[in-house]
Symmetry: C2
Subunit: 401 residues, 2 copies
């Protein structure tokens, strides 16, 4: 058995980012930049007004004196002439500041009509003016390669006049469920069998991680059928299997994939739930074998599949960020396996978290897992602790689960 960190390191080391494709700006959300987004313009392009008011020479803003309003410069229609002493031009938020002006007097600080302006206040040079290039200049690197684009980032690329983005192609993740007892929802269920829930939870999770899931037909517990199921996966960047990965006689996934030359890197991890996790490759196709129990499968997906998809997407790929919480109950000594207790969270009045592990931790109980807020992390060999001890935890919703 190897540690979680070693397993993740070995998985990430075997993965190569997909490569570039061009997408329209409006499809950029959540994508990872392959090439940086470079500003194609300077913003603001010229000195512009930050307010509605009057552009003038700051020296002319003498309370009670009268200035001549020589024109108006709506945003998008700059004033053509030049302001001389004693003159002002009507401007609005975003208007280009006319030559000869060096400040904007806001309209609330003046009496005015179409032709006259009487300031109520003096004004400092540069006041209410946004200088050309205040936010960025043409040629600036607005968003670096390897950035996962937020809504703000998409807006920034638009502001920089980038209608197209070069992003990493979304990794295609083929999902293979195995098992004679497994039926697709809505289809006939074998005696004592169950519906395939792992595939649907994993496909949804893969989407939240930025991957494109492909659901392969469920394979019977037969090594030849399993081998046939994975024959045409040249389009996939990763194969994920569920089920068939424990030590029983019906663990045929490794045998089936072995007919295509599966080279197993490792297949046991010192963790609970999820010990029987397999990683290897069929030729150049990396293969991640998840346990069959739904909770085990999803906890392993969080710890290994998510970083793998991130690495394929052009990101580094890292362990999910853990946080502190105060445990409300006593915890027993832990054995040598990393434990991940399903738990509920409540906010402390001081803004911290209180965490309470569920009494039942059965890895087949998906309903209970769907209700969990967090995984409480118990490192190998952790001592017994009294109630109120600070622990580390991972918030599930924060990680797309």
């Amino acid at each position: 058995m190897i540690s979680i960190d070693e397993a993740r390191t070995r998985i990430l080391a075997r993965l190569t980012p997909t490569g570039a494709e061009i997408v329209p700006l409006s499809s950029g959300l959540g994508r990872v930049l392959f090439a940086p987004a470079i500003a194609r313009l300077t913003y603001p392009a010229a000195n512009i007004s930050a307010m509605d008011g009057f552009a003038l020479d700051a020296a002319d803003a003498v309370p009670g004196t009268s200035l001549t309003v020589i024109g108006s410069a709506p945003a998008g229609r700059p004033f053509e002439g030049r302001i001389s002493s004693g003159q002002a031009v009507r401007v609005f938020t975003g208007s280009v500041i006319p030559d000869g002006a060096d400040a904007v007097l806001i309209q609330e600080n003046a009496d005015f009509d179409e032709i006259r302006l009487i300031p109520h206040t003096t004004i400092a040079r540069g006041k209410n003016i946004r200088s050309a290039g205040l936010d960025f200049r043409a040629g600036d690197n607005l968003l670096s390669s390897g950035t996962r684009l937020s809504a703000r980032d998409v807006g920034l690329a638009a502001a920089g006049n980038c209608p197209w983005l070069s992003v990493y192609r979304r990794p295609i993740v083929a999902l293979l469920a195995t098992g004679d007892e497994v039926a697709m929802p809505g289809e006939p269920i074998p005696a004592g069998g169950l519906t395939n829930s792992n595939t649907f939870a994993l496909a949804a999770f893969i989407r939240t991680c930025g991957g494109l899931p492909i659901i392969l037909p469920t394979a019977r517990d037969d090594r030849v059928v399993i081998a046939q199921a994975v024959e045409s996966l040249s389009h996939a960047d990763l194969l994920v299997t569920t089920g068939g990965a424990s030590v029983g006689a019906h663990d045929l996934v490794q045998e089936g994939l072995g007919m295509h030359g599966l080279a197993v890197d490792f297949w046991k991890i010192a963790m609970r739930p999820g010990k029987p996790l397999m990683f290897g490759a069929m030729g150049t196709l990396p293969v991640l074998g998840l346990p069959g129990n739904p909770v085990s499968a999803l906890v392993c997906a969080l710890l290994f599949l998510k970083p793998a998809i991130e690495r394929l997407s052009g990101l580094p790929g890292a362990a999910p960020q853990s946080e502190f919480a105060r445990c409300t109950v006593a915890l027993p000594e832990n054995d040598r396996r990393n434990d991940h207790l399903r738990a509920s969270l409540v906010r402390d009045p001081d803004g911290g978290w209180q965490i309470t592990p569920f009494a039942q931790q059965d890895s087949a109980m998906l309903r209970r897992f769907a209700e969990a807020d967090a995984l409480l992390l118990r490192p190998p060999g952790a001592s017994a602790t009294p109630p109120g001890t600070m622990v580390q935890m991972i918030r599930l919703a924060d990680h797309g689960l």
Copy 2:
């Protein structure tokens, strides 16, 4: 000017959830349930084995005695007969427990071959058996109406044998940008003008909130053109405008929409950035008028548009959750407007957050805003505070921004 909370309350009061549509389970991620997901089966359907091993009568597990292995019951192929005293059946994780057995001895705790089993240990009744209905029973409400479906929830609906889900239709949000100075990215830009960034940032943000954005052609600063732009919006659930909402002469959005009978509910909020926010309705179509400055537009979107989309989607719609952070710098006294300072976050060694507001807070600086981690919240009339004071903040990435 009204408060943020009053504005949000008035917006939410005017919105009605969209209504139901049926989607396949595999499209359920992120959708909000209209009808609850009811379990169509009991899981486990029968008592099943939690391990690979041997099903037997617990009383027969006497170390050193020999039992007869009378068959095998792979998962999905239950053993037909009944176990008598002195007999055992080979089982695997998920196998139905045969009649007459009440425990599973794991294979690591026995010597065995095809026909003989010699236990190394005694075993408690019920050990390594998952009882029928342990996770849920047919007819159970697995996921309530109004639940936004996570990856785990999608898996749970699959486990409950629900191939279709009844969800709220995604709200359609029409986006109208106005302004003579505004060009679409990649198209010719007017003198002193800029590209339309708000629409792209907002469209992406609307997607993260669960809405479907529709980008209307940009309207010139002309009330008739604006009126024409919004003539055919019977398919929309909400109209969002950007720009044209301040007090200047070129604030034509209200006039243009007024030609379709816009009834304004309010149009000024005691907040910074974002004071000129407008809300009203054209007939039955609610209208949210966002400020033109990109930072103002997005902060207002976070505080008002997100809850609005949530309400339209069948959720309650609430203020974004704020958190505690320790401010690293002194803060001046605040005026009567709620302030939202763009800020960076660093983790404390103790797991808390340290927050540092940016020195420049210009609401036109989208690049700086794209780099921000959080909004530091300053309530109206807040006193000046020394460095190290605890403040409230909203983490931007957590809210899809």
